[in-house]
Symmetry: C2
Subunit: 126 residues, 2 copies
Amino acid sequence: MEHSWQADAAAIIAQALAHPVRIQILELLRREGAYVMHLTTMLGRPQANISQHLATLREAGLVTDEREGMTVIYRVRDPRVFDLVDRLKVLSPGTRVSRESRIEEMTLPRRSGRGRGCHCPRCANR
Amino acid sequence: MEHSWQADAAAIIAQALAHPVRIQILELLRREGAYVMHLTTMLGRPQANISQHLATLREAGLVTDEREGMTVIYRVRDPRVFDLVDRLKVLSPGTRVSRESRIEEMTLPRRSGRGRGCHCPRCANR
DNA sequence: TTGAATCATTCAAAATATCGAATAAGGTAG
DNA sequence: CTACCTTATTCGATATTTTGAATGATTCAA
């Protein structure tokens, strides 16, 4: 039935990006790899849910998982995915990126009040 | 409930791109606007289905529809969506774009045999 | 008006995606 | 070994998407 080559592949990648939590995960992976625990506490969601979304990103080939002792570090496989995410935001109707606001700042949930600390190995800070 | 700002917006755009037929429609809109009839015959799918996918793209703000007599011309609202589509393809695992092959060529279905002609107003050819 | 052509929308069924809860799997420490 | 910690997976319920079929809506021509 007359398939569509790269259209299928492109759609699969788009589908992997088609959820706010997965976009947020990629935002958190922008500067460096992150432990699952870190993503879980930063996004304030059940661990299973984060793990499920990570599986989606992994199966799409967008991230890699590296076991490190008891923990697992997720990293973006190809940094060009960040260009993609940025362009998705720019194309959004209401989104006009004002010159002074960093995109990264705006999209991170920044947990409010007490509860913003992460206890993952890399986050020894308070 | 702690929303996610631009992550939602980005995900909505990604969702609009998350289907092979919609990617193909955008490919056909790459050079110029197209009549629905043109898209329908080129992609070899039921008219209602194409119209549904066009509605998805329209609601995401990615395309515009302009009535022209009995027909309707769809155009891409912001050409930057093509960058997005190209990058979606590049990030696909198996997709290594060889230098000599135009991406556009590969992704169009090119209906085989007899049945490749379109009868839309703009396609007076053969 | 009637009919034809083009496109949009509605409907119900099937397929997918998402979620929380529970459980499993893997590693570490005692 | 047991107990614990971190992450992954399975399960069932719910929600969303996709589809063809049928129907509407609009325009034009006769």
